[in-house]
């Protein structure tokens, strides 16, 4: 698209037509304190392209990027190898430029992809049906809480202490406007997840229990007793998966009785991308499908008996049902869903299992090595590709110093839970197939120096 700047005459002509005397007249409804007066400090009006490129490159050089250093960060966003073919295929014009497919008859290719995506997600999470799709894991988690409220007509959700704190934060923000009561405690440095405490908290007002699997500290629990306890009290079990590769090795939440399983799909097909765009996964039991947010793509036959795909269950969405819509999610992460689907297809079931096994094996190797560093205790007795180390000093400082030594050594609990200083010595370490034996050794050596 060409950039055609407006002349002052163009501007004046438009203002005359709409009966405004200046552009500022159009913003009179915006409170003065919410408006930016004058120019942005330090930002020039214009600069040459070359100057802008150089400036941006200089800013970029200040980052130590994931590909440049031994990388052990996870906590909801994982560095996995994405085959080059994924990026190549999603950039085909038919996919890249397709608008949200409200016009199903002209978007059959996109709809077929969404149908296959849903099939993969439902099987991965162990549920009957999946939608296509949500913005990211945290918003999908909130939508699950809202869906549990609609189904149970109760408004109290119990959130596990092992749920990602940013997901809790999103839920708290949304609950301010819906009136849901959220019960949540910050985690303690226990090897066992908080399943018993969650069960004890369930009562007749509980809409759902939300539990992360594996949880923010990398702990893995059998969710079956929790599902049974929730169901006995008329509540639902919502399971949150932030690392879907784990399901190549672990039992699915759906098979353990979860009613709604949501997740962050970034691990498969989608890069770290400085935090987004990501991809929300959302699946549930068939009997709850009409309370599911978003839309599904269904397979059908046309009048001539030919196979076709069509969006269904979108009648309760915002564009049709306005303020009475099931949720205010009105679009999806279509291109990220496509990337997920292509990567998943390239892996296949066997490939996913092998990828999961490789992740786990490397994580075990790393945990064994790091636990031998003086001043380090391994918290977990079981984990997938992420575990928590308890250090002899505050992990925030350690992470900063490791970065100075060229190692991106995990996410500190102090950063994740700034209000819980008692767990500040915890360090969450993620190990994926991109980590080498040399990376693990470099991390261990740097940590030895740091804790000496």
């Amino acid at each position: 698209m060409r950039y055609l700047p407006l002349t002052d005459t163009d501007r004046q002509d438009m203002l005359t037509v709409i009966g405004a005397s200046s552009v500022d007249d159009l913003f009179v409804d915006v409170p003065a304190e919410a408006r930016l007066p004058g120019k942005i400090a330090g930002l020039p009006d214009h600069a040459s392209e070359l100057a802008v490129e150089r400036h941006m490159a200089a800013l970029a050089r200040k980052n130590l990027s994931a590909g440049e250093a031994p990388f052990f960060l996870g906590a909801g966003a994982y560095r996995h190898h994405v085959p080059a073919s994924v990026d190549h295929l999603i950039q085909r014009g038919e996919f890249l430029t397709a608008y949200t497919p409200y016009q199903p008859e002209i978007a059959q290719g996109t709809l077929q992809v969404l149908f296959e995506f849903q099939t993969q997600v439902a099987r991965l999470l162990g549920c009957d049906v999946a939608n296509a799709s949500m913005y990211d894991g945290s918003t999908a988690c909130w939508e699950a809480i809202g869906m549990a409220r609609r189904i149970t007509k109760r408004g109290k959700a119990i959130l596990s202490s092992g749920l990602h704190p940013h997901y809790v934060s999103v839920a708290n923000t949304m609950a301010k406007f819906t009136g849901d009561a959220l019960v949540h405690q910050a985690p303690t440095l226990d090897a066992a997840p908080d399943i018993d405490a969650l069960i004890a908290g369930i009562d007749k007002d509980t809409s759902c229990v939300v539990v992360q699997y594996p949880d923010i500290l990398g702990r893995i629990a059998d969710l079956t007793p929790l599902a049974d306890a929730a169901h006995a009290a008329g509540a639902l079990l919502v399971a949150v998966v932030t690392e879907p590769v784990a399901l190549g090795a672990c039992r699915t939440p759906g098979h353990m009785g979860a009613d709604i399983v949501v997740g962050e799909g970034q691990s498969i097909g989608v890069g770290l991308q400085f935090g987004g765009p990501y991809l929300g996964l959302f699946a549930c039991k068939q009997k709850y499908v009409r309370q599911m947010p978003g839309r599904l793509c269904g397979e059908t036959v046309d009048a001539a008996g030919k196979r076709g795909f069509v969006l269904t269950l979108s009648t309760r969405e915002q564009h049709i049902r306005r303020e009475k819509a099931t949720s205010n999610i009105c679009t999806n992460s279509g291109l990220c869903a496509l990337a997920f689907s292509i990567h998943m297809t390239l892996l296949g079931e066997k490939g996913l299992r092998e990828l999961a096994a490789l992740n786990h094996a490397l994580a075990v190797q790393a945990a064994d090595r790091l636990a031998r560093v003086p001043g380090v205790t391994l918290l977990n007795d079981s984990f997938f590709n992420e575990f928590t180390l308890i250090l002899s000093k505050d992990a925030r400082e350690v992470v900063r110093n490791l970065a100075d030594k060229g190692v991106l050594g995990g996410v500190s609990l102090g950063r994740l839970f700034p209000d819980a200083p008692e767990i500040g010595n915890g360090l969450v370490v993620a190990v994926t197939e991109t980590v080498t034996a040399e990376d693990i050794e470099a991390f261990a050596k740097a940590l030895e120096e740091e804790l000496a």
Binding site: R290, T312, T315, R316, I320, R321, K324
Partner: protein
Amino acid sequence: MSRYFTDEHEWIDVEGEIATVGITDYAQEQLGDIVFVELPAEGTAFEKGDDAAVVESVKAASDVYAPISGEVVETNSALEDEPALVNSDAEEDGWFFKLRVIDASELEGLMNEAAYKKFVASL
């Protein structure tokens, strides 16, 4: 038994203190193929005009309002398995729910069959 109609296209049959509510044949025809009906829970109390049920076709999900105040005493469970009953027999077997009438005077503002026919013809 008397039958009344609302301008939201509900019909209501009153027999003693029990009123049966459904949507009209005209309404089902406008909606097209009905794929789901969400019914209220028994025991729910409605004020006249409250959202009482949702009828969902392939095109849209629409609210069904309580034409008079009352408490739900029964819902048409046949619609759970066969929502298309609303298409095939909207004004008999395709009924939605029964209410215990609280205030019979609320019926006074509603239309009779002849008035409803005239109303539909004017749309």
